[in-house]
Symmetry: none
Subunit: 165 residues, 2 copies
DNA sequence: CGGGCATTCATGGGATAGCATGGGTTAATA
DNA sequence: TATTAACCCATGCTATCCCATGAATGCCCG
C-alpha cells in the first residue's frame, strides 16, 4: 500500500491522543517516515491536512521557486511553515493534537481520517459526513452530465456513518 | 529534523530571558551550533530573524552577489550585518534579548517563535496572529489566481485532488 | 464446516522524563 | 562596591513511554 485510502474514525482520549489508522501508518513508513507527520490547517476547509516526507518536500518545492527575501516568499513561508506542526507518533501509533489545530477543525471527541492519495485529512466526524454527502451529490450530477450509466453506489444508505470497515 | 517548523510561544521572565523551543535548539545543533544564534531585526516586519550557521552563510551569499563598493552592497551590509547580534544560549536553553532587538519587535511579556524552514522569527504574539491571518488570506488569493499550480490542498475533497503526483 | 486460539489494533491509565519557568548565587565589569 | 550578566538548582506541567484491556480478524486444527 502506498497511498492513503478510505476513511476511519477514531476517538480522542482524555489526554488528547488519537490513534492514527494502522493502514495510514504503513503508508507513512513507506514514505520515508522521519519521526513525525506534517500537519497544518487546510486553507479552505475546517480540516487538517497531513502527510509524510513527500508532503514536506512539496512545501519546500513551492518555496524553493521564490527568491529569498521577497514578500511572496515571506508570506508563503508564514502561511505554510508557520502553521505546520510536526506531530510525532508514539509507540502505540498515536498523535497528540495541539490546541491550535484542534480549534481550526473543531476537533473534540473524535476524528475522521480521510485518505486522499498522497496525503490525508482529519475532520470532525459530523462535519465530514455533511461534506461527504455534498460531494456525493456533485458526483452524481457530474455523472449525469457525462451520461454515465449506472450509479456506482446504490441508494440504500449502506455507506452510513460507521466509517469503520 | 533539520528545519525550523511550527510556532511556539514562550514567556519572557523578569530578567529578560526566554526559552528557545527545544525543537529549534535541536535544529541549531544539527546546523553546526557555534555557541550562539544569529539574530537581527527583520527588514520588513516588526520581528526578529534568527538562525544558525546556515543563515549566516546565506547572508554572506547575498552580499557576494553584489559588487564591492556599490551603494547597494553597503546598504545591505549595514542593514544585515550591522544589526546582527549573536545571542548565546545558556545551560537551560534560554537567551537574553538585548534592548535594541526587543524594541524593534515590541517584545514585552512573551515571544512567538515562528519556524520558517532554514531560519525562524521572533514575534510579539498578538502581532504575529494578525500577520498570520493576512498571510493566509493572501495565499488563498494567490492560489486562486494561479489556478494553484500544485494545490497542496484540494479545493474539493471529493476526490482526486490530492491523488496526483 | 465450525470452534477455539493467536494476532493486530484501538483505547485507557499509570509512571517517567523533558521542558518551560522562576528564583537564588556566583562571577565579571565599571 | 554596585550593577549586570552567567550559572545552577528547584518546581510544576505536559508530553512521552510502557503496560493492560478488550474487541475484531484471521488462521489452524479438530
Amino acid at each position: 500500500m502506498d497511498r492513503f485510502v478510505s476513511t476511519f474514525t477514531n476517538k480522542i482520549d482524555a489526554k488528547g491522543r488519537v490513534s492514527v489508522p494502522a493502514s495510514f501508518r504503513a503508508v507513512l513508513e513507506r514514505d520515508g517516515y522521519a519521526g513525525g507527520i506534517y500537519c497544518y490547517p487546510s486553507l479552505d476547509a475546517p480540516a487538517l491536512d497531513c502527510g509524510g516526507e513527500r508532503l514536506a518536500k512539496k512545501i519546500d518545492g513551492l518555496l524553493a521557486g521564490l527568491p529569498d527575501y521577497s514578500d511572496e516568499r515571506d508570506e508563503l513561508s508564514v502561511a505554510l511553515y508557520g502553521d505546520v506542526q510536526v506531530l510525532s507518533i508514539d509507540g502505540d501509533g498515536r498523535i497528540v493534537l495541539p490546541e491550535g489545530l484542534r480549534a481550526h477543525a473543531s476537533l473534540d471527541a473524535a476524528v475522521t481520517f480521510v485518505g486522499l492519495g498522497d496525503k490525508f485529512q482529519m475532520w470532525e466526524p459530523l462535519r465530514f459526513e455533511k461534506r461527504r454527502a455534498e460531494a456525493r451529490n456533485k458526483v452524481q450530477i457530474t455523472r449525469k452530465l457525462f451520461g454515465a450509466g449506472k450509479p456506482l453506489i446504490s441508494d440504500d444508505d449502506s455507506g452510513n456513518g460507521g466509517a469503520r470497515e
